[in-house]
């Protein structure tokens, strides 16, 4: 219904409105994206390939993928558990818990990084103990994982809670009354009903996990080839005035953003059709 052109918008009005909106989208959104691609390929495809194939860049790509591979599954488990508890049951403290789940969204990424330095840094609470036992958390991969986990924490839960609350628990009750066990009910009834919402949450969580900059920047230590994720590699190269190399790495992340938008649109279309 929303796609029907409204008769109220006259031709002139539509022209003005479209002009204004498309200029905003063009100038603020399309142009920055275009600049990334233009600068990335400014030195030709060969230079781009060299930049992306550079050992440091490759190790940054590997680290980014590894961190994401740890963080996303953990957040999926958390998101599903939190959504099950918060949407299928009513209990004391539920609304407090609901807002606590969203809390990481209100925390600036830099603060998200900072809190782990305060806990595990050399001058942090557990710093001495960790140094004595030769365990490195900050300025190392575990710190990057923790910081990324923190900033992406609510993504899956946030998609699932409203969806599962709206779906209610009648289908689960029906499954139980037909003799299904708890796990059978979850796997055969709940999971198929939330699959698109779950996928949507995973896509957003994945994009943020791969692209997180602020929080990771604080805890990483910027050790080339070791603790630089792809976004950090972009920063390091940019600050060294290696613009083409920096934009080459940035173009990979821009590609990730575009793929994310395409998948997101696809999931929206698909789930919208299922609901209809």
């Amino acid at each position: 219904m929303n796609n029907l052109p409204s008769k109220d918008v006259g031709a002139l009005e539509n022209l003005l409105l479209s002009g204004a909106a498309l200029s905003i989208i063009g100038l603020l959104i399309v142009l920055p994206l275009g600049v990334v691609l233009k600068e990335a390929f400014a030195g030709g495809l060969k230079l781009w390939l060299e930049s992306v194939g550079d050992p440091d860049a490759r190790s940054a790509i590997k680290l980014t993928l590894a961190v994401t591979a740890v963080v996303v599954p953990l957040n999926v488990v958390f998101g599903v558990a939190a959504a099950w508890a918060l949407s299928k049951f009513r209990f004391k403290g539920r609304s407090l818990l609901l807002s606590l789940v969203d809390l990481p969204f209100a925390v600036s990424p830099v603060i998200a990084g900072l809190i782990f330095i305060l806990l595990f840094g050399r001058h942090g609470w557990m710093g001495t103990w960790l140094t004595d036992h030769h365990i490195r958390i900050v300025f190392a991969v575990p710190g990057i994982i923790l910081a990324t986990l923190f900033v992406t924490f609510p993504f899956v839960a946030r998609e699932l809670i409203p969806l599962m609350t709206e779906q209610g628990s009648e289908e689960e009750q029906a499954a139980l009354s037909l003799g299904a066990t708890g796990w059978q009910t979850f796997l055969k009834v709940t999971l198929p009903n939330i699959k698109w919402g779950l996928l949507y949450g995973i896509i957003l969580c994945n994009a943020r996990a791969m692209g997180e900059f602020g929080a990771v920047s604080v805890v990483s230590g910027h050790i080339r080839g070791e603790t630089n994720t792809l976004p950090l590699q972009v920063e390091v190269l940019y600050n060294e005035y290696s613009f083409t190399a920096s934009f080459a790495c940035a173009s990979l992340l821009a590609g990730l953003a575009i793929v994310t938008l395409i998948l997101k649109t696809f999931v929206e279309l698909k789930s919208g059709r299922d609901a209809a």
């Binding site: 905003i24 990424p109 830099v110 900072l114 009750q173 972009v234 940035a250 990730l256 938008l261």
Partner: protein, 277 residues
């Protein structure tokens, strides 16, 4: 009668799912955040206030809050325009435009940062054009605002868009049939009905801008007292191993943003009184 914390339910798995949720939340979010508060309290109240009263800290808060506020206001105008177009406009590639709106969400902030800097630098595509008009963007407070506009725009659009789509067409028709002009209808009927959505879009854009780091830090220039945002100051303090100072600035930034969000939510509650509850 037995006092129970939970209403009885036939669905299984409550203990397991709640237990896991609380455990994960505590380990990842609550315990680390409480470390922040405790660490800043090491300074004592006097030390805490002293840290925050330092001119460089005050300047960074001023630039952060002011830029975020201005950016969110501008985003209201831009966002409502785009949302209006996406709901009611006619354009062959509207679906594509709709999908592109989320790009600032999806694009890693470091990438947005270097892209905006390149665009608005004095020799950049937009920067050179604006420079001829005497407007400097990159490495000035304006640059900070531009980055905050970029990062906040989708929040306003995505808040207003569904509200506008759900707006009952009959209300506007009723207004017109009672003799109101199109402009009067917009001003007296449509905008008041959209105001809760606009306010929540404003809040989301504002609070995102307050904490934003990646897309701002490249374009800002990072001159202490002039273009240094609060997030960057936290990092600077950390690099000087002033952990307690960094924690104090972080606590102040976090509480001020929560306070601002709370105030706007109260305002929103007032504007939606007519909805009842």
């Amino acid at each position: 009668m037995k006092l129970s914390l939970k209403e009885k339910s036939v669905l299984p798995g409550f203990g397991l799912s709640l237990g896991y949720t609380v455990l994960a939340l505590s380990l990842i979010v609550l315990i680390p955040l409480s470390a922040l508060v405790l660490r800043s309290s090491e300074l004592g109240l006097a030390g805490f206030i002293d840290t925050l009263r330092h001119p460089r800290v005050l300047a960074s808060f001023q630039i952060t809050f002011l830029s975020a506020f201005k950016a969110a206001l501008i985003n209201v105008v831009l966002g409502v325009t785009v949302a209006w177009f996406l709901v009611r406009g006619r354009f062959p590639l509207k679906r594509l435009a709709d999908a592109l709106v989320d790009l600032p969400f999806a694009l890693p902030t470091a990438v947005s940062g270097i892209a905006l800097t390149t665009l608005f630098a004095p020799n950049g595509m937009l920067g050179s054009a604006l420079g001829k008009l005497g407007i400097k963007v990159a490495f000035t407070p304006t640059g900070i605002m531009v980055a905050m506009i970029f990062i906040g725009l989708p929040f306003v659009i995505r808040s207003v868009q569904p509200a506008l789509a759900d707006l009952n067409k009959e209300l506007e028709e009723a207004s017109r049939s009672l003799g109101a002009s199109r402009f009067q209808t917009l001003l007296r009927v449509v905008l008041p009905l959209l105001s809760p959505a606009i306010l929540s879009g404003f809040t989301l854009a504002f609070s995102r801008a307050l904490g934003e780091y990646g897309s701002v830090v490249f374009i800002a220039g990072n001159m202490p007292m002039k273009t240094e945002i609060a997030s960057l100051l936290i990092i600077t303090k950390l690099e000087q191993f002033d952990y307690a100072g960094a924690a104090a600035v972080a606590v102040a930034l976090l509480s001020l943003s929560l306070l601002a969000i709370l105030l706007i939510n109260l305002l929103q509650a007032r504007t939606t009184r007519y909805l009842g509850n």
